[in-house]
Amino acid sequence: MAASIAPECNETKEQYDTCFLKWYSEKYLRGNTKSNDCDELFSKYKTCLHKALKEKGMDSMLDDARKSSSETDAEFLKKS
């Protein structure tokens, strides 16, 4: 799996990515979309990542980018 932008988050990221991939292929794609096997690992990884992004001064740039996704959300989050 690819590395994190923050080396100190690599370990928790790896654990989360492995969990996610298993969940995606074995549950999500088989129709079990409501399961949340990896939530705990994700929140651990996210805590580490958000701290690192803040330290790198990237948080406000990302906040701006995330605001601009409402356009694609409107198009691709609807039922097709």
Binding site: A3, L29, G31, L49, R66, S68, L77
Partner: protein, 188 residues
């Protein structure tokens, strides 16, 4: 504005492609060494539609043409923001990316779609990619054109390498999943 687009078909099912897509930038893919980081910012499943929405930050280390860096300066590290949508009901993956670095001089918006192939939907997957590249810098049209052309060229090279590398990831994924299945059968 310039548009770059490409299409291709992978000889793998949509389930396989959409799974392997999550590890497109892994060590199995030695063609995308310019991607040094892939971080997941958020991930949610829409309770009504089952659509999986993921936000990622992609970090690249890539040298730029000398004349570009002398015009705009800047470091070799750049960031891309990607939001993707997986619709399991219609079997469609859509990934939308925008550049975060140099966004005041250049806008690159890419949309990638993976869908079951229209000809053999159970075994093959169609891939389409479209990027709109617009130079935003003020000044001469000539320079804007040059910047756009250079960007399209770089995009074309990366797209080709990305596709070649993804083939390797698909092959490895199939092998590893197969071995895992055999092992599980063996243990039962």
């Amino acid at each position: 504005m310039k548009v770059f687009s490409s299409t291709c078909t992978f000889d793998y099912s949509w389930d396989e492609v959409s799974t392997a897509n999550w590890r497109k930038y892994c060590p199995w893919n030695d063609k995308v060494t310019h991607v040094v980081g892939v971080d997941t910012l958020s991930r949610t499943v829409d309770s009504k539609t089952g659509i999986l929405r993921t936000e990622r930050l992609i970090t690249c280390n890539q040298s730029v043409p000398q004349w570009v860096s002398s015009l705009f300066g800047g470091s070799a590290t750049s960031h891309v923001y990607e939001v993707s949508y997986v619709d399991p009901a219609s079997k469609k993956v859509t990934m939308c990316s925008t550049n975060l670095t140099w966004s005041n001089v250049l806008s690159v918006r890419e949309t990638v779609v993976y869908r079951p192939s229209s000809i053999s939907p159970t075994t093959n997957t169609d891939f389409t990619q479209e990027a709109q590249i617009t130079a935003l810098c003020g000044g001469w049209q000539k320079i804007k054109n040059k910047v756009e052309e250079a960007s399209v060229e770089r995009f074309r090279e990366n797209a080709k390498r990305g596709r070649e590398g993804f083939e390797t990831v698909l092959e490895m994924s199939r092998r590893v999943f197969g071995e895992q299945r055999d092992l599980e059968k063996h243990l039962q």
